[in-house]
Symmetry: C2
Subunit: 257 residues, 2 copies
Amino acid sequence: MQRHSSGAFAEMRVNAEDSIPSSALRADEGEIPDIVIRRLPIYARSLKYLAEEGVETVSSGELGNRLGVSAAQIRRDLSYFGEFGKQGKGYNVDFLLSQVNAILGIDKEWPVAIIGFGHLGRALLHYDALKAQGFRIQALFDHNPEKVGQKVDNLVIHSMDELPALLREQKIKMAILAVPAGGAQEAADALIDAGVRAILNYAPIIVQVPPYARIRHIDPLVALQSMTYYLYNDEEGPQAGIGRNGREYRARSGKLD
Amino acid sequence: MQRHSSGAFAEMRVNAEDSIPSSALRADEGEIPDIVIRRLPIYARSLKYLAEEGVETVSSGELGNRLGVSAAQIRRDLSYFGEFGKQGKGYNVDFLLSQVNAILGIDKEWPVAIIGFGHLGRALLHYDALKAQGFRIQALFDHNPEKVGQKVDNLVIHSMDELPALLREQKIKMAILAVPAGGAQEAADALIDAGVRAILNYAPIIVQVPPYARIRHIDPLVALQSMTYYLYNDEEGPQAGIGRNGREYRARSGKLD
DNA sequence: CCGACTCTGTGAATATTGTTACAATGTAGC
DNA sequence: GCTACATTGTAACAATATTCACAGAGTCGG
């Protein structure tokens, strides 16, 4: 099943049609599960750290240990897109990273809008990791007339009325929604109408989007609440202070998160 | 299968042993899947909004529509814990909300520590929704000697050295980790040693905890990166501006998030 | 070049999660 | 009280996701 006969990793290619066609290499054979797509950025992040540490090669087992995921899962996930490894050796870190980045499209620059410029919106604008990873905040919107017109960094806060025209003009496909729950669905509808196809929602409500768009929800409250159940019900584990912490354990269930 | 013969919702009880024993009502018959536990807070949130709207009764179908989830899934999820509904009518909003809150244990107060008092830590301390839902920030820690000793609100920022003693003393079981990636695993280990059993991690790295503890990861960057794939690969959907937005659609896949 | 070892990619088996479909129960109008 | 209708809880089924396990390739030290 290996097609690259030998040679250095840098020459490894995925299949006949040298270099990546358009990403989603083997994605012809059926759809790729979303759950796989969601793990890819986590693999990419870990690979980035490995590269920074100067590690050249990593096996699915090692990577899995770092992430608390089984080696088989990593191999299977990657196999949706091609063959990136070498028997007996593992994966070349730089090569695999570049491939995963290309698959996800995160080797490109993505313009992003922020809707809602309260504390959270402001914090996100100044969150440097976004810029560092290619997400460029390019438009700000707020409902509040007092804020509209204000200048932040080199951006002006726009009114929601201007949203459709500006987003289309700038071909913005991604937005971060940081408005109160009450206005979130309405804002999302406006975004979709304006051509946005991916929304990161911070509002504490499930916002619905049509099937041709994507949304992810971030809510610390919900995350905390989903853990209290176990605090309340389990009563296991060493008493605090007893039991030395060697941390040989891997993640609870082989599931990320 | 219905045991409550009739009577008002307020009198409904789940089974013989009146009132909730310790939560996890029917949780004897095997373990409850984590994925179910994760949906519960979302149901609870929606029920809270319904209650605030003055709605008295809701069917699994209506609730499912609000959340983009199938009615059957909601019924199945709830059935792990008991029988809360009434044929022909649905669920009493107040009653179901109180039951779900009790199952999750979010009708209690939970003391929480914040580790890492940078911008994010500060923002979380002042995020009122946490307090409003019973999460009381009760201890702050930072690695930076310049910050240690400073007073914020009525809390003092403590050094990491003090963490074990303070957390045990205050019986703190939950923590929010808001430190840089480099220090996250070490900090988590310290938390676990100090008796913490649930961690909300904001550091951009997969932090591993032993099987008797829980962790959830929040990372906007990863969330955005998992959506670029679709922007990059799909090219479906109405062109922006065409196609009226009636929003009859429900969520893409019947999956939350 | 050999032999012992490592590690990938994947078919098959298993485990987990979600849906369908319906009996049982209750509602509501008259 | 009777009839038409709504809705639950769940068994059976279907679909998804994960792991097992191994053939095939490649490594590595001498």
